[in-house]
């Protein structure tokens, strides 16, 4: 019983060590990466929006055309629910698709 618990503890420790670098490196990359989404830089915002649009919408279907802004606002809300897309991604996508 004791050796089983020991094996289990070692397994959890090994899993933790394997997973940790993924989170750490993601955080480090984010810290190293320049902040491109400045609210004062419309070009950077548009690029970020395009990236989020391609990454999120392309998960399920071909990239759609741009629709009029009021339609995009509805589609945005629909996709936020349907595809569980984050609030930040949806805001950037809406901005990109309505400019």
């Amino acid at each position: 019983m004791k050796s089983r618990n020991l094996r289990l503890a070692m397994l959890i420790l090994a899993a933790g060590l394997l997973v940790r670098p993924v989170f750490v490196s993601a955080r480090q990359r984010a810290q190293r990466a320049p902040k491109v989404t400045s609210a004062n830089d419309p070009g950077a915002q548009r690029n970020e929006g395009q990236k989020r649009f391609q990454a999120n919408c392309g998960r399920c279907h071909q990239w759609p055309q741009k629709f009029p802004p009021r339609m995009m606002a509805t589609i945005d809300r629909h996709m936020r629910v349907r595809a569980t897309i984050t609030e930040k991604d949806m805001r950037l996508i809406l901005q990109y698709m309505t400019q």
Partner: protein, 382 residues
């Protein structure tokens, strides 16, 4: 589900089908119309109220007032299953009604007919199938949580919820494991909590947890069940993976689980997707890859519209038979070729080879068209 038999010739089966259905199935059609009217009234009441309220949403620089939308996926498919010809037209309208700042009523219905030749006759025969895929009220409470009530697509794996519409799917045939743990008609009736949020920069988490009650009233039939799905999306490498769990709260009270994964490499027009499902009804998996030939250097003007698709899948029978699933262990390999005229209009085709004992080996051919339109109901631009 209410079915109405009718007959019609192949060259004009669609108008003939609806005319005959209208003549012979007046009672059923009246029932359906009453159902649609009730649904529309239910949808419009809060929308009309909400349109007078503050219902704008911001894109970061300006406020935009959302408008109700009518959309639909339309398909006309021709299948040859082991030498038997089937014609399968389908219309699937979607209604979206946003109101206030965080509310949305959304609905999707499906009207489809599977027309097959009648032995000894020259015509085709089939049944009109009507289904309410979902009719739900959503409230986006905050960045972490959206609450949903009504009839919703069961979030078990992701195909049923995200990839099912005819204008989205790369191959027109359903995966063999699709009916596993999605409930009758692929939907539940009850409540759901879901959301997606950033865990760290570069890692997004999404989840859906739900409870469905037993309903035997067609077309709102559902099982009593509870379950959840959780996934991780890495927007950098465009990788998503996750798992689903479900506990049936009726009959033999069994558990089911599944896994899903997807990868769209940023440098390639390639989609790789896979799902696995396991329940008392059976188990199995599918792996699909779709590649758009937009990077091929020759004949670019033509080939950039072409998509090649491959999918392999296996199904293993379980302890409880389900007539929506194969009755024997089955393997299916499919290859597809799609041509996109536009992002919303395409020609689809595929060939599949099925391997199954007891005479189940067969070729499956498909050719068809899919189309999707989106219309504003009201003023569509600011």
């Amino acid at each position: 589900m209410e079915d109405k038999e009718f007959s019609g010739r192949c060259d004009s089966e669609i108008p003939a089908a609806f005319v005959l259905a209208a003549r012979e199935g007046t009672t059923n059609l009246l029932g359906l119309l009453r159902l649609i009217a009730a649904g529309v009234a239910l949808c419009l009441a809060p929308a009309l109220y909400g349109q007078s309220q503050t219902d704008t949403q911001t894109n970061g620089t300006q406020s935009i007032s959302p408008v109700p939308i009518l959309s639909a996926g339309v398909a006309y498919n021709s299948f040859f299953n082991g030498g038997t010809h089937n014609v399968h037209p389908l219309v699937s309208p979607v209604v979206l009604i946003p109101f206030r700042q965080n509310w949305l009523v959304e609905s999707r219905d499906t009207f489809e007919i599977n027309l097959a030749p009648v032995p000894g006759m020259s015509g085709y025969k089939g049944a009109l199938k009507k289904e309410v895929d979902y009719l739900q009220l959503d409230y986006i409470a905050n960045r972490y949580l959206t609450a949903t009530a009504g009839r919703f697509l069961t979030p078990f794996d992701v195909y049923n919820e995200r990839l099912y519409p005819v204008w989205i799917r790369d191959l027109q045939t359903d995966p063999l494991i699709l009916p596993i743990s999605t409930g009758p008609s692929g939907a539940g009736t009850g409540a759901m909590v879901r959301g997606g949020f950033d865990a760290t920069p570069g890692i997004e988490i999404n989840y859906a947890t739900y409870f469905s009650t037993l309903s035997t009233d067609t077309p709102f039939d559902s099982q009593r069940m509870a379950g959840m799905r959780a996934g991780i999306f890495l927007p950098g490498p465009r990788v998503e993976f996750g798992g689903s769990f479900q506990h049936l709260l009726q009959d033999d009270r069994t558990n089911a689980f599944g896994f899903h994964g997807a990868w769209q490499p940023p440098s390639l027009p390639l989609d790789v997707r896979a799902e696995y499902a396991n329940s008392h009804e059976g188990s199995g998996y599918w792996v699909e890859s779709a590649y758009r030939l937009s990077q091929v250097p020759v004949q670019h003007d033509v080939l950039r519209h072409v998509q090649v698709v491959g999918r392999m899948q296996r199904y293993f029978t379980g302890t409880v038979p389900d007539d929506r699933l194969p009755s024997v262990n089955t393997s299916l390999f499919e290859f597809g070729l799609n041509y996109y005229f536009r992002d919303d209009l395409r020609l689809v085709s595929s060939y599949g080879r099925q391997f199954a004992p007891q005479g189940g080996n067969m070729n499956i051919w498909n050719i068809g068209m899919t189309y999707r339109f989106v219309l504003p109901v009201g003023h569509g631009s600011t």
